[in-house]
């Protein structure tokens, strides 16, 4: 006996399906789309249940987060201390903390709620660059506790603030003079720690700053609470070392009927030798299900632009900082790319600076020239400073790009003032150039670096407005429909799932995001204000409270 059919009706389905861009009715069976169209669909496939709860809403394909980290589900076990608004998995909305005093007051409340004095207070997401100068000090954190270890991690990942208890435990005294121990005019340590050496020691004596823990089922479920609220039905976890414990957690979490997210974990390739990494991906593919998709691998070529560790071409950093770091030697990268390419594994290559993007493109081009493989879809992730010439080479080599559109809002002003300077900052995350050249495009949040929210990411790519309200690179703005494609079918393409998700089409999973307004029709500045009422994952409705 065939499974029951459910017909969903909406004010409009925006399908991203070229054969039928709009519909009002979509029939679903066995979690997949059977057909779509007008009222005639209602009985076209036989007797069907009828679901009209979205009759007044706009339904789009479930969003695909092409570059996120499931570790976002772990972050919330610590205390959020960021400047921007952010919603926790349990739905608690933080307005964001607009001064050091607000951050400290929030941490004091968090500390007061803690009972075990041996547990450190760890906060994350702190970003003082919007406070106009003042830095957090040891005195601020000593006022919270002189006994409990207190650690505040900056959103950049390159700075920690700690209290005196941590300084003492780490053995950092004012008599020492180590790179990364920041001092005040009087020579006293401010508790600000910069760089991996001193940060690593502080993290270790704190026991657990929380960011290196392995994912568990609870963290994955919390991650899915974050994603479903913003309409995401498929997300990458880019990347994961994928030891057996993590694989077990991924399998257990995604096997649950009520888990509303398809996950695409990328193997962190450098945790393995090249042959072992290739073998690991092959072995993991055997665990693939409708909701769990192994098969991609990630490489990191350089650091970050705002951390001055990205590799840039001439003229380098606007403020004169020396060029960034290779995280892998160029000659070694060529070998790794070729090996994974030949093994038929798709690579997601982190490149922030344009020199890194150029190198990675060269590596893919050489591998593909030597061993041509149609449709390899190797993708540059972030690729923030690529220009038209790099995009042309990427296109010629068959590559895709996933641009970090959220950066324009969150760090656009810093890029203009410090890292790239005026004019070059205008081509940050050049979505319009990528599309004009014909490179397949996705855009992303890199959550938890910035919050997962594809409507916000669309808004960034369409408007290119910085946090201070400036348009950064007006000619790189793209249209709403182009942006919607980049967070649905475009992102699905970059993870080889465009046959299964990213549009509403016969045979594809019935994964939808239900919106109160149409992102293609609202004024472009309002795209980020659209409400996600529900998601549908494999035909099952998960309504937002």
């Amino acid at each position: 006996m065939p499974s029951p059919i459910q017909v969903f009706v909406a004010r409009r389905f925006v399908t991203m399906n070229r054969s039928m861009p709009y519909a009002t009715h979509v029939a679903v069976r066995d979690g997949r789309v059977l057909g779509m169209g007008g009222p005639e669909i209602r009985d076209a496939f036989g007797p069907a249940g009828f679901d009209d709860r979205f009759a007044g809403d706009i339904v789009v394909p479930g969003f695909v987060e092409g570059h996120g980290h499931a570790a976002d589900g772990l972050m919330w076990r610590n205390t959020y201390a960021g400047y921007f608004p952010r919603t926790a998995p349990d739905g608690t909305r933080h307005a964001g903390f607009k001064s050091i005093a607000e951050v400290v007051a929030h941490l004091r409340r968090a500390e007061a709620a803690m009972t075990d004095l041996d547990r450190p207070l760890v906060a994350w997401g702190f970003d003082p660059i919007y406070f106009g100068g003042p830095r957090m000090t040891r005195a601020d954190l000593d006022a919270i506790s002189t006994r409990r270890l207190v650690v505040v991690a900056h959103v950049s990942g390159h700075i920690l603030n700690v209290n005196g208890a941590v300084l003492e435990r780490a053995g950092f005294s004012a008599d020492s003079n180590l790179d990364g121990l920041v001092r005040d005019e009087g020579g006293q340590l401010t508790g600000e720690l910069r760089g991996p050496a001193v940060m690593g020691r502080a993290n270790r004596v704190t026991g657990d700053a929380g960011l290196s823990r392995l994912l568990d089922v609870a963290a994955l479920r919390d991650f899915s609470r974050l994603t479903r609220r913003v309409g995401v039905t498929t997300s990458t976890d880019l990347a994961n070392p994928l030891p057996d414990e993590s694989v077990a957690a991924l399998r257990a979490a995604t096997a649950a009927e009520d888990f509303p997210l398809r996950l695409v974990p990328a193997l962190r390739a450098r945790e393995y030798s090249v042959p072992d990494g290739i073998a690991r991906v092959a072995a993991l593919r055997r665990h693939n299900t409708d909701k769990l998709h192994f098969g991609i691998a990630k490489l990191v070529v350089d650091g970050s632009i705002q951390g001055f560790s990205a590799r840039l071409r001439w003229p380098g950093y606007h403020n004169g900082a020396p060029n960034g770091l290779w995280y892998v030697a160029p000659a070694e990268l060529f070998g790794i790319v070729e090996a994974y390419h030949r093994a038929g594994i798709q690579l997601h290559i982190h490149t922030n600076g344009d020199e890194a993007s150029e190198l990675a493109t060269e590596a893919v081009a050489r591998a593909n020239d030597a061993f041509p493989r149609a449709g390899h879809r190797h993708t540059l992730q972030h690729c923030q400073m690529a220009d038209e010439a790099i995009f042309q080479r990427m296109r010629a080599a068959g590559m895709c790009v996933n641009l970090f559109a959220n950066h324009i809002y969150y760090w656009g002003e810093q890029h203009r003032a410090l890292t790239m300077g005026p004019s070059r900052a205008d081509r940050l995350d050049a979505c319009a150039t990528a599309l004009a050249v014909g490179v397949k495009l996705a855009i992303h949040s890199d959550t938890p670096v910035t919050p997962v929210d594809p409507l916000f990411t669309m808004w960034c790519a369409v408007n290119r407005i910085t946090a201070e309200g400036r348009v950064l690179g007006e000619h790189e703005r793209i249209t709403a429909v182009e942006a919607l494609r980049a967070v649905t079918l475009g992102a699905a393409y970059t993870v080889n799932l465009d046959h299964a998700v990213g549009s509403i089409d016969t045979g594809k999973f019935a994964d939808f995001a239900v919106l109160d307004r149409d992102p293609l029709e609202v004024p472009s500045m309002e795209i980020r204000d659209i409400q996600v009422r529900a998601i549908v994952s494999g035909g099952t409705v998960f309504a937002n409270a």
Partner: protein
């Protein structure tokens, strides 16, 4: 507990770092602990590890250059507490790593004493690398941090004059050990260990690294000591040993390298500092005057 000497081994991809580490293991006269600071590319010879079960070899994945840098510090912390203890730690940097970052960890992590920063250079390819499109600044940066250069593959280079000239220009103060197959004894990569003549240079200063000892007559004034250390010339590579700081009942352990230093409380230890430098380091009377200036006034 005597601090464990730590030798950072840097150098660009293919220069022969791993060959050098394997050579040190194969000729081991002490218990080595080895950390390999690279991802997924461990080529330390397993047979050597097996053959030297008296020596501890510990391998980690982790890259000090990037966000997982804490891993290497954790690896060092583990090495420092090995039982039975190791005699000497070797940390092999990644081929694009900055060896100074590893050296800095030896100052930050308690229990280590920083030996010379060794950078292996490839006599055959160095000039090409220094002109390379993508790697020139990385290779240059590694050599700028060198305190000893192992110029390897000297037998393969048809004309090593260019490589020698590049080293003389980039790191003129670093002695260069020319070799093939990275066959260099650990003794040539260490600071000299000498008896303790007081207030005069070690007469055995034919060695590339002259040594001078200083016995502080009184505790140091903190601000003055800071000023003295900050003003030391680059020809002074290390200052290490024990001293007392104004007001502290216990001794402090001082470790100085490349303008940075760590001062950490140590408990009971007789005061005495060892100063190690290049042949260009200031003469003993100058050094006496500098360090005496840091003493508390009587």
């Amino acid at each position: 507990m005597t601090p464990i000497p730590l030798t950072p081994v840097g150098g660009f991809l293919g220069a022969g770092k791993t060959t050098l580490v394997n050579h040190l293991l194969a000729t081991a006269d002490r218990r080595f602990g080895v950390l390999v600071n690279d991802f997924g590319a461990i080529a330390i010879d397993a047979a050597l590890i097996a053959a030297h079960d008296g020596g501890v070899v510990s391998l980690t994945n982790g890259c000090v250059c990037c966000e997982t840098g804490g891993d290497l510090g954790a690896g060092l912390a583990q090495l420092a507490t090995r039982d039975p203890p190791i005699d000497h730690a070797i940390v092999e940097a990644s081929g694009v790593g900055d060896p100074w970052r590893i050296a800095q960890l030896a100052l930050v992590e308690p229990g280590f004493s920083l030996d010379p920063i060794v950078v292996v250079a490839d006599a055959l390819n160095l000039e090409r690398q220094l002109a390379g499109r993508w790697v020139a600044d990385t290779v240059r940066g590694q050599l700028l941090a060198a305190e000893i250069v192992v110029l390897n593959k000297i037998d393969l280079a048809p004309d090593p004059a260019g490589a020698r000239a590049a080293l003389a220009s980039l790191c003129p103060m670093a002695p260069v050990v020319e070799t093939r197959n990275a066959a260099v004894a650990i003794g040539r990569l260490s600071f000299p260990v000498s008896p303790r003549p007081r207030f005069r240079a070690n007469p055995a200063s034919a060695h590339a690294f002259p040594v001078w000892h200083y016995l502080p007559a009184r505790p140091f004034d903190r601000a003055r000591l800071r000023a003295v250390l900050a003003a030391l010339p680059r020809s002074i590579l290390r200052v290490k040993g024990f001293c007392r700081l104004d007001g502290d009942p216990a001794a402090s352990l001082l470790q100085f390298a490349a303008g940075q230093w760590a001062l950490s409380p140590y408990g009971e230890a007789p005061p005495g500092l060892v100063v190690i430098g290049t042949p260009e380091m200031p003469a003993p009377p100058d050094l006496v005057a500098r360090f005496d200036f840091a003493l508390l006034e009587q």
